[in-house]
């Protein structure tokens, strides 16, 4: 497997730099071409970018973020990942367990488990034509049942929040590795060169920047944080000078930077910094527009629940996600924490679900109406689930459960109205249709048209993959 970064290892990169005035941007593009070329795929020039690269900046035409063709026909072009940190209780939401209902209050489950079995705390009902079982906590989402593919056989290797969160985002518990969004952006580039390819809205603190980091991948693939509560992206406007004056200033900065780079040919950080300056410049006009929700109709705002205090925060984030998707951002993550119900299971879960149910339903129908859902993969879920056994004296809580839990997908190339995978009769362990973190990642990459075994990056003398040496695509869920 040849990663495109092999160029960086030999002398060829430096020779190229000396020979061409196009410099790093061209080189980076060449490098990326190498990747697909070695994979035996036709290399298609970045036409897709042409229209979107407003401003006509040279770096836009051939930067590392230029769109690239996947390995094979993609079912999805972009991802919206709705990450629910803390371990949402699958047995109360997405994984209907009548046996658990029956055995409420009894002891049960595998050896070493403590606590008594706690029945699902909310009613489940069949929804849609497909008759998917969904908890009453999602009345709005239930209307989209026929678009959902429930992944009931999820499992992950670690039952602690930080490790499992980082594993879900990077595939690795012990090592700092590039995040899923960074891999996707590395593999496919992004359509809109005026926006980052990977945006994470209100990322959770746990795991920190690792969850959207690029690790050894070039810095351009790292996620850009958007904090809606702090006005989106900090310092996105300059009130002190006109755009043309600022452009002249940036030109000067870049001239100085290129001077420094000329003494340090091939210095990846300096190259990344120069590219980041250009992206920052373009983002100043593109980001405020794309994050400005005021232009959305009242009907849309209401649909996302922006008027209601319970749903406003998450609704805003979902609406932003839709706008970013529409604008051509490749990977968008929305995060919400507070799903760690060791106690107050009933009330907290109800509150959480209420906050997201309406906004997510609005997102799905909005994407559908705009013709985006068919090639947008929407993924919902947390780092693990919760135990069928109760916890604490009140009995109104559940422990972590990493051996079986649930997520769902919708849109881009996945079958709707499907339940894929099962846990045992109590919801403790994934039995059929088992999906590990690596399997999940492999499946996501597959939907995006990438073979997870071929998406590699050479670093420290070895080809790295998002899925390490694991991962199996869940073929049954493909539409």
């Amino acid at each position: 497997m040849t990663g495109w970064s092999q160029l960086e290892l030999g002398g060829s990169r430096r020779r190229l730099l000396q020979q061409t005035s196009a410099g790093f941007g061209w080189l980076a593009f060449r490098g990326l071409n190498m990747q697909t070329a070695t994979a035996g795929q036709p290399v298609v020039a970045a036409d897709e970018a042409g229209g979107a690269a407003a401003g006509g900046q040279t770096a836009a035409a051939a930067g590392p973020l230029s769109p690239r063709e996947p390995h094979f026909a993609a079912r999805a072009k972009r991802v919206i990942f709705l990450f629910m940190q803390g371990g949402p209780s699958h047995v109360d939401t997405l994984d209907w367990k009548p046996e658990l209902q029956k055995r409420d209050g009894q002891t049960g489950g595998s050896a070493g488990r403590v606590g008594k079995l706690l029945a699902p705390q909310f009613q489940f009902q069949r929804s849609g034509d497909s008759g998917l079982w969904l908890s009453a906590l999602f009345p709005e989402l239930a209307k989209h049942a026929d678009r959902l593919c429930l992944l009931n056989g999820m499992h992950t290797s670690n039952a602690a929040h930080p490790q499992a969160t980082i594993a879900l985002h990077t595939g690795s518990v012990n090592f700092v590795r590039p995040s899923l969004g960074a891999w996707v952006t590395y593999g496919l580039g992004t359509v809109n060169q005026d926006l980052p390819g990977f945006v994470t809205i209100s990322p959770v603190g746990l795991g920190g920047a690792q969850n959207y980091g690029s690790s050894f991948l070039p810095a351009s693939f790292q996620g850009t944080r958007v904090q809606p509560e702090e006005g989106g992206i900090a310092d996105i406007r300059n009130s002190r000078m006109s755009p043309s004056a600022q452009r002249r200033q940036i030109d000067l900065v870049q001239d100085l930077n290129r001077g420094l780079l000329s003494r340090h040919p091939g210095h990846a950080e300096l190259e990344g910094l120069i590219q980041a300056n250009e992206l920052a410049w373009r983002m100043q006009s593109s980001v405020p527009d794309v994050l400005d929700l005021s232009g959305e109709s009242k009907e849309i705002q209401e649909r996302y629940g922006l008027q209601d205090a319970a749903t406003a925060d998450f609704g805003k984030q979902c609406l932003m996600a839709r706008r970013l998707a529409e604008a051509g951002v490749r990977f968008i993550q929305v995060s919400r924490n507070g799903w760690d119900q060791h106690r107050d299971l009933k009330s907290a879960l109800q509150r959480n679900c209420e906050a997201i149910d309406r906004p997510i339903a609005a997102l799905l129908s909005d994407l559908e109406q705009r013709g985006l859902l068919q090639d947008t993969l929407v993924l919902w879920g947390g780092e693990f689930g919760r135990s069928p056994q109760d916890q604490g004296s009140s009995g109104d809580g559940r422990r972590h459960n990493n051996t079986g839990y649930s997520m769902w997908m919708a849109g881009g190339g996945v079958r709707g109205g499907m339940q894929y995978g099962t846990t045992d009769e109590l919801g403790e362990k994934a039995e059929s249709g088992r999906l590990s973190t690596h399997d999940l990642h492999a499946t996501i990459l597959h939907l995006l048209g990438m073979d997870h075994t071929r998406l590699t990056y050479r670093y420290a003398g070895r080809d790295f993959r998002l899925t390490d040496v694991y991962g199996e695509v869940a073929k049954d869920i493909l539409a």
Partner: protein, 852 residues
């Protein structure tokens, strides 16, 4: 736990049984047997057993792997899984029949009758099994024995200093180690950096500040040799108080320093700053690092020369109290064990470079550290009372705060501790003394008021009153801090009446927020006890009691036996500080090297375990560690050695020829451009624009603003950033509120303060450019700096521009740069101060953000 509970019951020579039985079968019956395996046994094992008993298992249970023939034969902790030919004697069969309540596999549910029969039949056939591969599970003793061979557990060996061909190049033994490796690889190092670049490098590295134009002029014009001129600069920098502010901050990264507890109820630590100042002062005083470690782990138990030292020692133990905790955690055991885990993890990674926390729920996946080891060490912390000022409980408001859970560092408390007196007695004495003082003061006040101004003795009377009042005040503060419960009982009628009208919580808050209070975070000895192992780390799944002590793999260097009446922290501290400890000196010299060269000799500074990366220059690492210990663990000595070396001085230019041989600069043939950390960016912005306030602010001036759950404060739109980032003090003195870091800090990769962080991320994101181009902090600094230069150089544009380069980039501008700048300033002038915009461009340039 799903370990098979039997040990060594069926340790028969099964391998013999199998090898004897298989060849004895006829060829076709052999094939039949293998077919049987493929048809019935392999699917069964895969379906029911592999999840926990194969190489693919996330954690192999009971050290048993059933995915190779060797694994089946070797068995796990309970012995071999099968006795070929004898199903009844095979553990595998015994467990699947569920006959023994202690041995029931698979745990999910009993196999079907047909499946059990198949297994029995297979074993009767002699357990034919075509699977190859070796079983790599190892017993704990083997693991420990092999684990001890890991390089970092080996004693530090003073290596022989290698010979080099280019003897004229080297300045010290450090250079000999570096140059010898370069010579072996045919690599030629870069020429030295020019003096201006070197000055900027060493000034930023040692103080986090930029050299002033005067310092630049002096250094450049110093007629002394490069060696001598550099020595002068280095000694000046090492002696400046900015040194401790820089290097103290590096340590604060490592000990997850913060001014709030983080997590669900993010209440402030109003006294964390004492520990922060202690760290800064320790680096400035060049406190021997062995002593520094001991104080942080067991300062409260060390002998002190005077009350000041005693108090400082207690403050040092703040190290153990600063962790991020979930105050909303109502499960008291969970809370306690989480805190111990934070202490273990911090101690392990900061001082030992070991991820001890990994062994909380199971044996360490990589290092030879068992779960037993974890709980042995955890017992030391379980026997320690952590005084962080807050406790776990539910509900809103500020009820997490409790002054009873803080350390009293008043002189009286220090005296009591040094004399071995009972603090309660002392408190009673203090109360009596306070009453005395009040009754003495009252008539004096009357007398004072009655005296006309200028009357003889009035000034003296006032002096006397002030002294008494001060004493009274200190007594009251000390009492309030130490009195269990609340504002005491003997404080007079007025105070009591007042307290009735206040809620208890308000009273609790009122005391600790007194910025003059002699109160600190820290630890003291708690109820001495050993801890029970917790199965899977679950608080309520108690295992065996584990005697307090060190992890077995580290017992190569002895720790004195823990006294039954003490927690063991003192012994632990002595062990850390032992010159024979293989880890502590290595870990520290590697940290220092990393800060000066951009990358540690061990690239994983917080992990010297098996999953860490091997040192690039193991002999040099040992040389430095030994030299460090030999020089009384002096951090300043170590840094001085390193920055005076030749290798530290090299220019950063990338030479294609050398890069072709060693692109990653593993052999240090060039200096590396190193990104300034966010503190240095902010401090030099303020410094070069003449705004930086170099004096240390008293206490924590922001604390009055933030007394509740900070996330709620922030939700009200009153973020700590608004109130403090614009303050002109050095960044190290700004509060670090967990999960509420300043935007600038996040953009420029400040260390996440939830856990140990010996190496900050270096990211390159548009947000950094946006900050430098658009944030008012940068624009203001640019305008200030421009005004400064205008007042110095009048209308002389060329002089202004040249001075701007010296001020901000610490070098002379090139002719083409000056031309470019002049052109830019003139064309920008129409709109704004062109000079200010130029200066901002310099701030926004890559060069400003890197040490050259």
């Amino acid at each position: 736990m799903m370990h098979w509970p039997f040990k060594n019951i069926f340790c028969l020579a099964c391998a013999f049984a199998l090898s004897a039985s298989v060849p004895s079968m006829a060829q076709d019956s052999r094939r039949e047997g293998l077919d049987f395996f493929e048809k019935h046994i392999r699917p069964l094992l895969a379906k029911h057993c592999y999840e926990c008993h194969s190489s693919e298992s996330s954690s192999v249970k009971g050290n048993l792997k059933l995915d190779t023939r060797a694994g089946v034969l070797k068995g796990g902790d309970s012995g071999p899984a099968i006795v070929a030919g004898k199903p009844a004697e095979s553990l595998l069969v015994q467990s699947v029949t569920y006959d023994d309540p202690n041995l029931q596999m698979p745990p999910k549910g009993r196999l079907t009758g047909a499946e059990i029969e198949a297994l029995q039949q297979w074993i009767t056939l002699g357990a034919p099994d075509p699977r190859s591969g070796t079983s790599d599970t190892v017993s704990r003793t083997t693991r420990l024995k092999e684990g001890r061979q890991h390089w970092s557990f080996q004693p530090v060996k003073v290596p022989q200093v290698p010979q080099v061909q280019h003897a004229e190049w080297v300045r010290s033994d450090i250079d000999r180690f570096i140059r010898a490796r370069q010579e072996q690889s045919g690599i030629t190092p870069n020429p030295d950096a020019a003096r201006p670049a070197l000055l900027r490098r060493v000034t930023l590295d040692l103080t986090g500040l930029a050299p002033t134009p005067q310092e630049l002029a002096e250094f450049v014009s110093d007629a002394a040799s490069d060696d001598q001129a550099l020595v002068k600069v280095v000694d000046r920098l090492l002696a400046s108080s900015a040194f401790g502010e820089r290097w103290g901050r590096h340590w604060l990264d490592v000990v997850r320093y913060a001014d709030s507890v983080g997590k669900t109820r993010n209440v402030p630590f109003p006294f964390a700053w004492r520990y922060r100042n202690y760290v800064i002062d320790s680096f400035n005083a060049d406190k021997p690092y062995d002593r520094f470690m001991q104080e942080q782990v067991a300062g409260d138990l060390l002998q002190a020369r005077d009350v000041r030292e005693r108090s400082s020692n207690v403050v040092a133990t703040g190290f153990l109290a600063l962790g991020s905790m979930d105050l909303n955690e109502r499960d008291v055991d969970q809370f306690r064990l989480d805190r111990i885990d934070d202490q273990m993890d911090t101690l392990g990674r900061s001082m030992l470079g070991l991820t001890l926390g990994c062994a909380r729920c199971h044996d360490h996946k990589f290092d030879p550290i068992s779960q037993q080891d974890y709980y042995a060490l955890a017992g030391i912390f379980a026997s320690t009372r952590t005084l962080s000022g807050n406790r776990s409980r539910s509900g809103g408001g500020n009820t997490y705060f409790h002054p009873d859970l803080l350390a009293d560092i008043s002189d009286t408390a220090a005296k009591a501790a040094m004399d071995g007196r009972d603090p309660a007695q002392l408190r009673a004495a203090e109360l009596a003394r306070a009453d005395d003082l009040r009754s003495t003061l009252a008539p004096m006040v009357q007398r004072y008021k009655a005296l006309p101004d200028g009357a003889p003795g009035k000034a003296a009377l006032k002096q006397r009153m002030t002294a008494l009042r001060r004493e009274l005040q200190s007594l009251q503060v000390a009492q309030a801090a130490t009195a269990p419960g609340a504002a005491g009982t003997g404080k007079g009628a007025k105070a009591a009446a007042k307290s009735k009208t206040q809620s208890k919580q308000q009273r609790l808050e009122a005391v600790p927020f007194d910025p003059d209070g002699d109160i600190a975070m820290g630890v003291s000895e708690g109820r001495i006890e050993d801890l029970k192992l917790r199965v899977r780390g679950e608080p309520d799944l108690e295992g065996d009691l584990v005697e307090r002590g060190l992890p077995a793999v580290l017992r190569t260097v002895g720790m004195s036996r823990i006294d039954a009446g003490s927690s063991g922290r003192e012994e632990l501290g002595r062990w850390l500080a032992s010159s024979r400890n293989p880890l502590t000196a290595r870990v520290m010299v590697n940290r220092v090297w990393g800060h000066l060269f951009g990358r540690g000799l061990v690239e994983t500074p917080d992990n010297f375990g098996v999953a860490g990366i091997q040192p690039t220059h193991p002999e040099l690492l040992d040389y430095l560690a030994a030299d460090f210990v030999k020089h009384d663990w002096s951090v300043k000595h170590l840094i001085r050695q390193l920055v005076l070396s030749r290798v530290y001085r090299l220019g950063t230019d990338i030479q294609p020829q050398q890069a072709a041989l060693d692109e990653g600069n593993q052999l240090y043939w060039r200096g590396s451009l190193r990104r300034l950390d966010v503190e240095a960016i902010r401090d030099t912005l303020l410094q070069t624009s003449g705004r930086l306030e170099m004096t240390r602010p008293a206490g924590a001036p922001y604390q009055a603003e933030f007394t509740g759950d900070l996330s709620r404060v922030a939700a009200r739109g009153n973020t700590p950033a608004d109130l403090t980032l614009s303050s002109p003090v050095r960044s190290v003195y700004l509060p670090v509120f967990r999960s509420l870091l300043f935007g600038m800090y996040t953009a420029f990769d400040f260390a996440e303060p939830d856990q140990v962080n010996g190496q900050r991320d270096v990211t390159t994101v548009p947000g950094q450019a946006l900050f430098l181009l658009n944030n008012s902090l940068v624009a203001d600094a640019s305008e200030r700096a421009a005004r400064q230069l205008q007042s110095q150089y009048g209308d002389n544009r060329r002089a202004q521009l040249a001075a701007a380069w010296r001020l901000i980039l610490c070098r002379e501008a090139g002719a083409d740069e000056l031309r470019m700048a002049q052109h830019f300033v003139e064309s920008a002038e129409a709109e704004k101060s062109g000079l200010a915009l130029l200066i901002q461009a310099l701030y926004a340039s890559a060069e400003f953000r890197y040490t050259p």
